[in-house]
């Protein structure tokens, strides 16, 4: 057994843009994913969750920091080896499936090129097996990408990622294109297929509702940094960071016209757009509890209770 976790990331920084206009997507994040413990990265648009997920599986190189995947440094890893170990399921199934290619070809290409399988019967058998795991039957083999609905495309992408037998899969927003009823089905499919394959999954999402159905550990991201992380049951039941508390309070039973949360959301949306982060807590300008200390000092990301980390000077004081 390897001592290092499956994915180990230290002090990751990633910038986008040109010389004049630099956007910091990830700002000094350290995070690891243990074998067999599915993780989730939760955050709003622009929080850097997708970038972090892409860095963790080698799709994107960080400007600063180290990524170790299955005990090897990503920098020294060959692409071939990398894709056998880690796979990524794209956010947008419409863009990720070639409309002209048949399902058979989409699934057998990685088997032939990366795993070097040649026996056509074995390949067909494997394709059928993974299609059925993903909830598609044999008749789909001859269909072309363009003939599939959004949900079917999503399932095809799931099959394609897992057919390689990877140790690590990153799933980026698997449910945004799918309606509520089928949302749980897709998450269930991913969970089962991961379990039977012995694959560890990192889920990237903005939907707190599906986190608990797939993951054991959750990391909450805000503006390029992880501000709270811990076991899902712990973080969902007793969130400490004011942002997490705010995020968790937005659910159907709480929404009402003129209510406290509605007012908070309005204020939040208005403040959010006119802001550049310089120093202090990155949530300070939006936080109702913020004082002078929050605006000048950056809170450390520390273990508050066992395994539950939070970066806040006043953990757990906020309530809605």
């Amino acid at each position: 057994m390897n001592e290092l976790p499956l994915v180990y990331m230290k002090d990751i920084r990633k910038y986008f843009g040109n010389r004049r206009n630099i956007v910091t997507a990830v700002d000094g994040v350290s995070m690891s994913v243990e074998r067999g413990k599915n993780a989730a990265i939760v955050g709003e648009t622009g929080s850097g969750k997708t970038t972090l997920g892409r860095i963790s599986c080698g799709l994107e190189y960080p400007n600063h920091g180290t990524v170790m995947l299955d005990g090897e440094n990503l920098k020294s890893m060959k692409n071939r080896e990398l894709w056998k170990t880690a796979q990524y399921i794209h956010q947008d199934p419409y863009g990720a499936v070639d409309p002209l290619e048949t399902v058979q070809k989409i699934l057998q290409q990685p088997l032939r090129n990366l795993l070097g399988l040649n026996d056509q019967e074995m390949i067909d058998e494997r394709i059928r097996h993974y299609l059925s795991l993903a909830g598609l039957d044999e008749s789909y083999v001859s269909k072309r990408g363009g003939e599939l609905s959004g949900g079917e495309k999503q399932r095809l992408l799931i099959a394609r990622a897992f057919i390689m037998g990877p140790k690590y899969v990153v799933v980026d927003e698997p449910t945004t294109m799918i309606d509520f009823i089928h949302r749980n089905e897709v998450v269930e499919t991913i969970r089962e297929i991961g379990k039977s394959n012995d694959t560890t999954i990192t889920l990237i999402t903005h939907d707190l509702g599906i986190v608990g159905k797939l993951s054991q550990i959750v990391h909450i991201m805000f503006r390029g940094a992880i501000i709270e992380s811990g076991p899902v049951d712990e973080v969902m039941v007793r969130p400490y960071h004011p942002y997490t508390i705010f995020l968790a309070s937005i659910k159907p039973s709480n929404v009402s016209e003129g209510g406290k949360i509605t007012e908070m959301v309005k204020g939040y949306g208005r403040l959010r757009q006119s802001f550049t982060f310089s120093r202090g807590c990155r949530y300070a300008h939006l936080c109702p509890l913020a004082d002078d200390r929050c605006r000048s000092e950056t809170p450390a990301f520390e273990e508050y209770t066992s395994e539950h980390f939070v970066a806040c000077f006043k953990p757990g004081e906020f309530s809605v």
């Binding site: 648009t45 309606d179 009823i181 707190l208 995020l247 159907p252 959301v265 309005k266 939040y268 757009q273």
Partner: protein, 259 residues
């Protein structure tokens, strides 16, 4: 009827693919009252968006629509192009599903506004148009510089709010919103919805709100139609649908809310 802005009766819509015709909307009837927000909810493929398209008069051969959609005493389905052009966007406007695709990628946001001012409201004074654009952007909490940007330079939430501002430019009688907040995160979604509701109240427009998102519908709608496979299976006030659903499908839908 007084207070009714739109009356849909026995609407049937057929899509034609490879010469075969398929009925996607079956015998749908409903009325829309002034200032009301009517939610249409159902899974993908239930025919929700098709109804929205029909009300905008966007069903064209070889697809066909039967029945009647009465707006201001006239049937939209049998209306000629000239009349339809005068109603579209001026009286009935639409917020489309994908905000990226409904904004022209090669022109700045201001040009989208100016074309509405010119073509639909007959305003040609440049200074006035600029001022009105600023006001409209402000009404959805967007700064004035947004009008000099291209769509790809804006975030998803900003684009969505731009589209809302565009749809409400003419203070139309009816706004059709087709999944306006799908693919936004909860905070942004809620923010956009709260702005949409505020703008609707200001302009006094009615709205048909098409979605599969239950949180959105619970926040927005007064009355709800539940659709399954092209049919309306249940309809009524929001509280009734949420608390005492009768139909099996509605029950399943409501049970997915984590309260």
């Amino acid at each position: 009827m007084i207070g009714t802005v739109l009356q849909v009766e026995d609407l049937n819509i057929y899509y034609s693919t490879f010469g075969k015709s398929k009925r996607v909307v079956e015998d749908v009837s409903f009325t829309l009252k002034r200032g009301e927000i009517l939610g249409i909810i159902g899974e993908s493929g239930a025919g929700k968006s098709t109804i929205g398209k029909a009300i905008m008069g966007l069903i064209e051969p070889p697809d066909r629509a039967e029945g009647s959609i009465i707006f201001n005493g006239k049937n939209i389905l049998t209306m000629d192009r000239y009349l339809l052009d005068r109603i579209r966007w001026k009286k009935i406007s639409m917020i489309f599903q994908a905000s990226m695709n409904s904004l022209n990628p090669v022109q700045k946001i201001e040009d989208d506004f100016y074309s509405i001012f010119r073509d639909k409201m007959n305003i040609r004074d440049k200074r006035k148009m600029e001022k009105m654009t600023d006001e409209l952007l402000l009404s959805v909490s967007l700064p004035a510089y947004v009008k000099y940007r291209f769509p790809h330079e804006l975030s998803g939430g900003m684009r969505q709010r731009t589209v809302i501002a565009l749809a409400l430019t003419t203070s139309p009688d009816i706004v059709i919103a087709d999944e306006p907040t799908t693919a936004l995160d909860v905070i942004t979604e809620y923010f956009v919805l709260s702005i949409l509701k505020e703008r609707l109240r200001q302009s006094g427009s009615s709205m048909i709100f098409i979605t599969h998102d239950l949180m959105a519908i619970m926040y927005m709608a007064n009355r709800v139609l539940v659709m399954e496979k092209g049919r309306v299976v249940e309809s009524g006030a929001l509280e009734k649908i949420i608390n005492e659903p009768e139909n099996l499908y509605t029950k399943m839908l409501v049970s997915t809310i984590d309260r």
